[in-house]
C-alpha cells in the first residue's frame, strides 16, 4: 500500500527549475531513499512534501488524502514528521521539552486549560511524560541527557534528539534529511540502527536523504536517484548500483 505518493511535481524559483516532473510512491513500512549529487533537488522534494515550498505543479497524497494545498502544520498533524539537514532544534528548551514539543499536534490542552493547569492539562502532561519516556527516550537511549539544554549537546546527540522529537509526533511518514552527515563511524552506525529499528520494530515508513552510500545501500528498500531536478532512476539498491544513468551522474560522462 502506498502511504505517500508524489505525482508530476515541478518546482521553480523565479524561472529557475529546481524540480521537474517528479513522480514516486512510498509504500507503508519501507525505507525509501533519495540520492543524487549536490543541488539535485533532494531537500526541495522534502520541503514540498512538508509544505514549506509550494510547488507550481503536481499532487502530493498522504495516506490517501490529497495534501497539496494543506498547510505545513496540518500535514504534520496528519502524520508527517521531519528531521533537518542543519539541526533545527529549539535552543531555548531542554531535550525533554523539545521531544514533548514533537507531540504538540496530538495533544488537546487549550489556552485556558494551560493557564489553569490542574485538571485536564495536568493529566495530559503526565500521560505525555510517561509516553515519551517509554516510547522515545528509552528507545533512543537518551535518558541521561533529558534535562539538559539542547545547545549543550554534542552534534551527534543533537541529531538523535531531533529524531526523538520527530518520533514523538508518532508519524506515519518520517522524512529524514541527511541523518548521519558529519557523524563519526560509531555515531553513524548507531543512527543507521535506529532508522532500521524504526522500520522493523515499529513498522515506520521513512523517506531518507543521505550522501553516505554505505548506509543507503545497507538499509534502503528502494532508492530514487535525482540529477539536476530530474528523476533518473528508481529501484532496489542492487539495481541502482548498476544503473548506467546513475553511474554517469555520479562519475561524469565517460568518453569512449
Amino acid at each position: 500500500m502506498n502511504i505517500l505518493s508524489v505525482e508530476n511535481l515541478s518546482l521553480s524559483f523565479g524561472g529557475l527549475a529546481a524540480l521537474t516532473d517528479i513522480t514516486f510512491q512510498v509504500r507503508a513500512g519501507e525505507i525509501f531513499s533519495i540520492i543524487g549529487p549536490n543541488g539535485a533537488g533532494k531537500t526541495s522534494i522534502l520541503n514540498c512534501i512538508g509544505g514549506f515550498y509550494k510547488p507550481q505543479q503536481g499532487r502530493i497524497t498522504l495516506d490517501g488524502k490529497d495534501v497539496t494545498k494543506t498547510s505545513p502544520d496540518r500535514r504534520a498533524a496528519m502524520g508527517l514528521a521531519r528531521t533537518f539537514q542543519n539541526i533545527a532544534l529549539f535552543r531555548g528548551m531542554t531535550v525533554l521539552d523539545n521531544i514533548k514539543l514533537g507531540a504538540h499536534a496530538r495533544l488537546k490542552t487549550s489556552l485556558l486549560q494551560a493557564l489553569l493547569y490542574w485538571g485536564p492539562a495536568h493529566a495530559e502532561e503526565m500521560a505525555l511524560r510517561e509516553d515519551v519516556e517509554k516510547d522515545v527516550i528509552d528507545f533512543l537511549e537518551i535518558e541521561p541527557i533529558r534535562k539538559l539544554p539542547v545547545g549543550a549537546l554534542a552534534y551527534g546527540l543533537q541529531k538523535r534528539v531531533e529524531l526523538a522529537r520527530a518520533l514523538a509526533m508518532r508519524p506515519k511518514v518520517l522524512l529524514m534529511d541527511e541523518p548521519v552527515a558529519g557523524m563519526n563511524a560509531e555515531e553513524t552506525e548507531d543512527m543507521a540502527r535506529f532508522v532500521l529499528d524504526i522500520k522493523e520494530e515499529r513498522g515506520g515508513t521513512i523517506v531518507l536523504i543521505e550522501h553516505d552510500m554505505d548506509v543507503i545501500m545497507d538499509i534502503s528498500d528502494r532508492v530514487m536517484v535525482l540529477n539536476f531536478g530530474h528523476k533518473i532512476a528508481e529501484g532496489t539498491p542492487e539495481e541502482i548500483q548498476h544503473h548506467p544513468e546513475v553511474i554517469k551522474a555520479y562519475l561524469g560522462e565517460k568518453k569512449n
Partner: protein, 347 residues
Amino acid sequence: MRVGDFKESYAADEAVFRTSTARFWLGVFLVALAVFPFVAGDYLLYMANLTGVAIVAAVGLNILTGAAGQISLGHAAFVGIGAYTSAILVTRLGLPFLLCLPLSGLAAAFFGVIVGAPSMRMKGLYLCIATLAAQVIFEFIFVHWVPVTGGIRGINVPAATVFGLQLDTEFKFYFVTIPIVILVVTAARNLFRTRVGRAFIAIRDRDISAELMGINLFQYKLYAFATSSFFAGVAGCLNVFLLKVVTPEHFPLHESVRYLAMIIVGGLGSVLGSIFGAIFMTMVPEALQSLLNLFQGLDPAVMEYLFPLQTVIFGLLIVVFLVFEPQGLAEIWRRVKDYFRLWPFEH
C-alpha cells in the same frame, strides 16, 4: 548541602517546586508577604502595590516578547485599554471591582488580537514598528476621544469595593494586589508546563520548523498576543483603582519601554525574571531619590539632577544588562542558588 535529586514518579519530577527545600523557602516567602503589611508603613505599601501592578504587566509582556519572541512596543497601550475599560465600567455602569478585573483583561485581549493579527505576515522589526504605531495611535485616542476617555484630564474613579469593603487605603489594597499577582504568576508558570508554552518558545526559536512540527503559527501568535494583553488589561484595572484616576500620561511610549526594560533586566522568557525585573525597575528610581536626599544637605540644587540621572541610569541598566548579563537577574539568581546548593563544598 542538598544531595540526591531522585524522583519516584514523573509527576514529582514535573513539579514546579521539586525539592522540599524549595517548598520550604516558598512557604517562608508567602508568610513574609502576609506579615509585611502589618509592619510596613503607607509608603512601602504603596510601593508594594505599584510593584505588584508592574509584575502583572511584565509577566504578560514576557509571555509575548520573551517567550514567543514577538517584540511589542505597545504594551503600555494595552495596560491603558484595561485601565480605561475599568474606569468607564465603574463610573458609568457602576460595575463592581471584581467584575471590572476580568472585563478589563478581556477588552485589552480583544485589541491585542487585533494588533497581533498582522503578525502572521510581518516579522521581527516590521512587527516591532507596527506595535509602535499601535502605541502612538492608542495614545492619541486616549487624549482626543474626550467624551469617552475624559481627554487629558482623564477619569476619576472611586475606591474599589470588594464584598462591601472599601479598599480606600494602601493597606487594604495590598490584600487585593498580592493575591492577583500570585494568580497571574501561577497561571504564567502553568502555561510553560504545557504544549501552549512550548509552542510559544518554539515559534521564537525557529518559526519555520515549529510550523513543520504541527504548530499553527497564526493561532499561537494570537494566543500570545491575547494572553499578554489580557494580563496587561488586568494590570491596568489594578492601576486605576490604586491611583483612583486614569489619564493618558500613565501610558506613554516610555512606559512600554519601561516594561521591556523590566523583562530584559529580569530575564527574557522567564516568569521569575519578570518578577525580579518589575521589582528592580520600580525600586531603582526610588533608591536614587533616597540617595540624592542624602546629599541635599550639601547642595540643595542636587535634586535638579534627579530626573536626568534617572534617565541616564535607566538607559545604562538596559545597556549594561544586555551587554554583560543578557539572561538577566534570573540567571544571576540561578547562579546564587547553585552556589548554595553545594555550599560549603562549592569546588
